[in-house]
């Protein structure tokens, strides 16, 4: 319509109507996302596999993942034990399958709390501004002043060596990132016209934050969240590896790798499969996170 200023003719209106697509559904978005890059498909596939294992892995495991059976210790992969057995004769495939729920479950809990707390703090800091903002942001600075793994290590070490304490430690490490992220978004959004408009018609701060600002920060949060699942899974298994998280005989992947360390020269399968599961899980989330970032933010499409 180069002749602006003229009222649109019926013809242009008709073409506009015909061209305007039907409302996009979630399914459309998912299809577009998968079509964008084969890597996105790989990421979604990997995540689906490991989510499935997290839900049903222990049920479907062919052998008992905990019960020792010393008669078959350190067996190489065979038709009975696809991934071989460990030093107590436990089936490694069963242990890897049962392990998914620890890594993913822990990551899920950590990040849920971190996102809730971080978003809450970020919304308040960004919207309130002034002294409240200053105080809250300096608080996040403190937590961000430590490399994540080191702070988590100190917290987990002082609280005691359990998986629950690993959750506490990693949550303490992750929430400030979300507070920062959300605050930045709020600062940018709250000057926008649609927020000003909402304020002008007398919407309460709560409504503005909940209805107008929060929904617009979701995309950024989701991308960050997806990328962080990978980090959280790695951090959890890393802490377990040094003996701070899950304790044996829990079939957590990091704990298994720690156990395999002593035997890796005589039993390559023992260390290979838990590590592979760990790598593929993290890879899945990294691929999805990268894909989502490109998909949701056209500005970074070239990256």
């Amino acid at each position: 319509m180069e002749r602006t200023g003229y009222a649109p003719t019926t013809r242009t209106i008709r073409t506009l109507v015909e061209r305007s697509p039907r409302p996009r559904t979630l399914l459309d978005s998912i299809r577009d996302f998968l079509a964008q890059s084969p890597l996105n498909v790989v990421g979604v596939f990997l995540i689906a596999v490991f989510l499935f294992l997290a839900a049903f892995g222990s049920l479907l495991a062919p052998h008992d993942p905990i019960q020792p059976n010393v008669a078959v210790k350190l067996q190489p992969p065979s038709s009975t034990y696809w991934f071989g057995t460990d030093e107590l004769g436990r089936d490694i495939l069963s242990r890897v399958m049962s392990g998914a729920k620890y890594s993913l479950g822990v990551a899920f809990i950590i990040l849920s709390i971190a996102v809730l707390v971080g978003t809450f703090v970020g919304l308040i800091a960004g919207y309130a501004g002034g002294i409240i903002d200053e105080l809250l942001m300096r608080l996040t600075d403190l937590f961000l002043a430590f490399p994540a793994l080191v702070l988590a290590m100190a917290i987990a070490a002082t609280l005691g060596r359990t998986l629950e304490n690993t959750v506490i430690a990693l949550t303490a490490v992750y929430w400030p990132w979300y507070a920062r992220l959300v605050r930045g978004q709020v600062l940018w959004l709250k000057e926008r016209e649609f927020v000003e408009a909402a304020r002008a018609i007398g919407a309460s701060p709560l409504r503005i934050l909940g209805r107008h600002i929060l929904p617009n920060t979701l995309a950024v949060i989701i991308v960050q969240l997806t990328l962080d699942v990978g980090y959280a899974v790695l951090a959890t298994s890393g802490l377990s590896f040094i003996g701070l998280g899950a304790q044996p005989p829990t079939p957590e992947w990091g704990t298994m790798i720690a156990g395999a360390r002593t035997f890796f020269r005589q039993a390559w399968w023992y260390i290979t499969f838990p590590g592979l599961a760990l790598t593929l899980t993290v890879l899945g989330f990294n691929l999805l996170g990268d894909g989502l970032r490109d998909f949701l933010d056209p500005r970074t499409r070239r990256r």
């Binding site: 430590f146 080191v150 298994s237």
Partner: protein, 336 residues
């Protein structure tokens, strides 16, 4: 302007360090075990425990204890290791150079490989090399370092015998006379080139494993920065002037593409210090990471918390340095 900025950052540094000490202090007081009991040992009488409580000031109100703790920190007094009974500061001084050397070489690896790889990846976009660069930048962040370390140890040491499986030098080889505490530097200073090579050989596997995640991030940052810069007008102008392509890419484009990467690269160094814990354990590397690990095993909270504090402080300092470098590099900030 620069001075003002640096002064402001230094103020902030003091604040952060105070905060760090507060966090570590709080941590040392949520310990579920009675510190006096740990020091006294499990079989000490209640009187002996009380005596130690007095001696270490553990019976005083919390704020007094904090002031005391701060007072110590200012003089680099981190208290005594609860197990070795040596001052923690002494242990840290002994183990820190090993960690620094490891982190430096890891960083060197990440930058020396990551920058060229990122540049070439961007210049020959969608080529085989680009595919390789992008694979590295995703896989490097996905492979758990402790697992990769064990796998490499299996192949490069146990199977092929190419590289040593750990330690800074073979057992029985004398360390170079200590100047910096970095073996490669000290060996060169002593003019002992074969010792330098030996130390380098020991550094190779651990620093590669430690640096992989940083390599991934550097490659990605440089690649995306280059892609952005290469599309800009001044690059077209430079090309139109007939400048050699490599001059345009390596001098004109890279300079501007690196700017945003500097901050990220700086942050990596702090993360390397953190990641060193896992790598040091596997390669029996006598740094503060392994020291912290052993302290955890022995419930030596004082040592664990001191390591946390030191790494936190190092992290903050490095970030300050990076900020200053950034300001010096970016003329736009200098004038405003």
């Amino acid at each position: 302007m620069i001075v003002q900025l640096i002064v402001r950052r230094l103020f902030f540094l003091v604040f952060v360090l105070l905060g760090l000490s507060l966090i570590t202090f709080v941590l040392s007081h949520v310990v579920p075990r009675d510190p006096a009991r740990i020091i006294a040992g499990p079989r000490a009488s209640p009187e002996a425990v009380e005596k130690i409580r007095k001696e270490y000031g553990l019976d005083q109100p919390l704020w007094r204890q904090y002031v005391r703790y701060l007072n110590g920190l200012i003089r680099f007094d981190f208290g005594k290791s609860l197990t070795s009974r040596r001052p923690v500061a002494e242990d840290l001084a002994r183990y820190l150079p090993a960690t620094l050397e490891l982190a430096l070489y890891a960083m060197l690896f990440a930058v020396a490989v990551g920058i060229p790889l990122g540049v070439l990846s961007a210049v020959r976009r969608n080529s085989l090399l680009d595919l390789f660069g992008r694979t590295i930048s995703i896989l490097g962040l996905s492979i758990p370092s402790f697992w990769l370390a064990l796998i490499l140890q299996f192949f490069l040491f146990a199977q092929l015998g190419l590289l040593p499986d750990g330690q800074r030098l073979p057992v029985g080889v004398r360390e170079p006379p200590r100047v910096t505490g970095l073996f490669t530097v000290d060996a060169l200073l002593a003019g002992n080139f074969s010792l330098f090579l030996l130390a380098l050989k020991h550094l190779l596997m651990p620093s590669l494993v430690l640096g992989l995640a940083a390599l991934a991030i550097v490659t990605r940052m440089v690649r995306s920065g280059m892609l952005e810069v290469l599309g800009q007008d001044y690059i077209r102008t430079a090309r139109a002037k007939g400048l050699q392509p490599h001059v345009v890419i390596w001098r004109h484009a890279l300079k501007n593409a690196l700017l945003p990467a500097v901050t990220v690269i700086g942050l990596q160094f702090g993360l390397l210090l953190g990641g060193a814990v896992l790598v040091e354990i596997i390669f029996s590397w006598p740094g503060i990471g392994r020291y912290a690990f052993q302290a955890i095993q022995n419930f030596d909270y004082n040592a664990v918390i001191s390591v946390t504090l030191v790494i936190g402080a190092a992290y903050v300092l490095v970030n300050l340095l990076v900020d200053i470098i950034y300001v010096l590099l970016d003329p736009r900030i200098r004038v405003t």
